[in-house]
Amino acid sequence: MNRNKREELLRDLTPEIEKTSKSWYLVFAGLLVVFIIGIYGLIQQVDKGHIVTGMRDNVVWGVYIVNFIFFMGLSYAGALVSGTLHLFKTSWRAPVIRLAELITVISLAIGPFFIFFCVGRLERIPYILAFPRIQSPIVWDVIAILTDVFGAAIFLYVSFIEDFAILRDSENLQTAPWKKKMFRILSLGYTGTPKQKKILTFSRNVMAAMIIAIAIIVYSVLAWIFGVTLQPGWHSTIFGPYFVIAAVFSGVGLLIILMAIFRKIYSLEKYITKKHFVNLGIVLFVIAAFFGYFTFSDYLTKWYGSVKMDKILIDKLFTEFRTYFIFANYIGILTPIIIIAIPRLRTIRNITIAAVIALVALWVNRYIIIVPTLETPFLPIQDTRHDWLFYSPTWVEWSLTAAGVAVFGMLFMIISKLAPIVSISELEEAEEKNDV
């Protein structure tokens, strides 16, 4: 192994583990404040009941469920992207695969909390495990998510072992003794013997394959929570694959955004290059095309056939929700396609902007899947107070949403201080191959 090469990698990638800048603490404190405001909102909600949210008897699921689907989607996308990159031995994966793996686990740690916020009696959540009824899609989802939590955690961990060993063996690493101790324990005595290497490679391949399958199944199950009901707009056979595609769309978008952020802040320009943005941009392009195609066929069949309820729903989407609809399903899909399709536009900045638009548009897309359907039940909403008719999220819901995003940021920031955000071992392997 090339010693100098490793020294260089360590020198470039480990400073963030060794010392923490003031601005890191500042940003972290800011996120912490957002998180605390969210906790205050949650306390209000638990204390006064769900009356403090914008949800009422018709729109019983609101922003919380949108966030749940959104974060779970990011997680599955992270799994699908990192699993695929790993399994197909994509040559350029080395600097970005760990970010994708981290997205998987961190989003997965946040998503389920939004379901909890939506549940009327938090203290009875354990009933799902105590009295489960297997015919309920929620129970399918609980089983699926629990499987996914373990799968994703193992996948992330096995991908970290080699790096932990490298950090443990690195004499120049200036870091707290407890971190050194942590590296020693977590590296599980890995020294890189051929036998160990073989076992580790095998585990990583198996987990990569499994995580792809789990991600597809789990996100389809989540889509079926909506698909199995009779509600107009939800009762659709396309929902499973549609949700999976949507998830990958948002996940690739987020990956590009994180690449841009960490590249800049942690000075990784040498490793995360334009090539990575363009390659992932092309992935985003393909997924956007698929996503647009699914969206189009879902709405086209509803609009053309114009069954009474579908017609009411489509009318609502095209009038009251027009702005959202145009942003989510035209701008959100076409922007990445146009930016990537024209080579001249393919700059790191443009691709990042496209990714941001894609990510936000997907959230809005989820919103106009959930809310308009609930506002158009089979029997017209009547004999109900006027101000209970329509949904508009309250500050409690927004504060918890912001808290979710803040926790995502904080977890990413913490992990980036404990282990390299770019995989050293992957880079080493990639460079070795290039040398040969």
Partner: protein, 324 residues
């Protein structure tokens, strides 16, 4: 709850200990008496009691214990339903004039707060050129209930007599049943309803009182009244005799004034179920609004303004907002 559970188990132990075939006998409505005949460790003084199967029995006074109604027992009982029954409701749309007495009786009987109605009166118009009509909508107690299928914890259940109930001590408040129900029959307790219950009140899903914050509620067909051979509150309250209630097995329904043969009513008045095509198989039937007794406008008379407001065109989100 914990204490009740302890009580219940000690009572069961008591019965088991004496190995009785006699079990419990019902006296004076709610109180039940568990009694033993062994007499070996009793005081010797005998009491004559009427057993559930109508026989006079002598039991030792010392082994009599008054059994309190217990939540756990009530919930268990509420799962079983009333044997041999298959309840059905028929709503005669020709007679309804939105008098809202059914709503009031239901609200009062179930201690429901305002804006939390288990029965709603819709004003429907099937298409532009057809007539409007008042349409009372309770829970349909479907024979293929999606709400029951999707409940993750078994808090809502279908009994053998056809009634669908909610156990608000089990409900976690995920609201999946509310999105699954195509008739919007369910309502959520968005805040603590703050009803004062008598101290000795025992929760029973058949009455489903008091409402619990963060759980789902809905029409229970007044299962508690059916238990004591009474008609549901809405049926009794309706001044027009709109709502008929009965038993398919007996082929009879009554609105409290007249009792009709269910099958002939269906034939003669062309009974139907709302949105049959959804396949949920409701047990509530409607008689079409033909040969109406009143014009539909009568339904707007004498309405509280806050209620008549509810029938104004909904408009869009923007036009609804200033009313907040």
């Amino acid at each position: 709850m914990e204490k009740e559970a302890k009580d219940s188990s000690s009572r069961r132990k008591f019965i088991r200990k004496f190995g009785l075939g006699l079990g419990s006998v019902a006296v004076a409505g709610s109180a039940a008496v568990a009694a033993g005949t062994s007499g070996s460790d009793g005081s010797g003084e005998k009491v004559t009691l009427l057993s559930a199967d109508g026989q006079l029995v002598e039991v030792d006074r010392a082994s009599i214990r008054v059994a309190r109604k217990e939540t756990r027992e009530q919930i268990k009982k509420s799962h079983l339903g009333i044997p041999g029954r298959k309840f059905v409701m028929v709503i005669d749309l020709a007679k309804c004039k939105n008098a809202r007495k059914c709503v009031d009786a239901c609200q009062e009987g179930h201690m429901l707060p305002r804006d939390h109605e288990w029965i709603k009166i819709q004003l429907l118009q099937d298409s532009e050129l057809t007539a409007r009509y008042w349409f009372p909508k309770p829970c349909y107690h479907c024979d293929s209930p999606l709400c029951v299928s999707v409940c993750p914890v078994g808090a809502t259940y279908k009994r053998e007599d056809g009634i669908v109930l909610v156990d608000n001590k089990r409900c976690i408040g995920c609201k999946f049943c509310m999105t699954a129900c195509p008739y919007s029959a369910r309502v959520f307790n968005w805040k603590d309803p703050e009803v004062d219950m008598p101290k000795d009140h025992v929760y029973d899903p058949e009455l489903n009182v008091p409402p619990v914050e963060g759980t789902v509620g809905k029409c229970v067909f007044c299962a508690d009244r059916l238990r004591i051979n009474e008609l549901p509150r809405c049926v009794r309250a309706c001044p027009m005799g709109v709502i008929y209630f009965g038993d398919v097995n007996e082929d009879a329904v009554t609105n409290g004034v007249e009792t009709l043969r269910f099958s002939s009513l269906m034939v003669e008045r062309h009974g139907y179920r709302h949105m049959e095509e959804l396949g949920t198989m409701p047990t509530v039937y409607y008689l079409p609004p033909v040969d109406r007794m009143y014009p539909v406008e009568i339904g707007f008379e004498d309405l509280d303004e806050s209620i008549s407001d509810r029938y104004k065109p909904q408009g869009s989100k923007k036009s609804a907002k200033p009313k907040k």
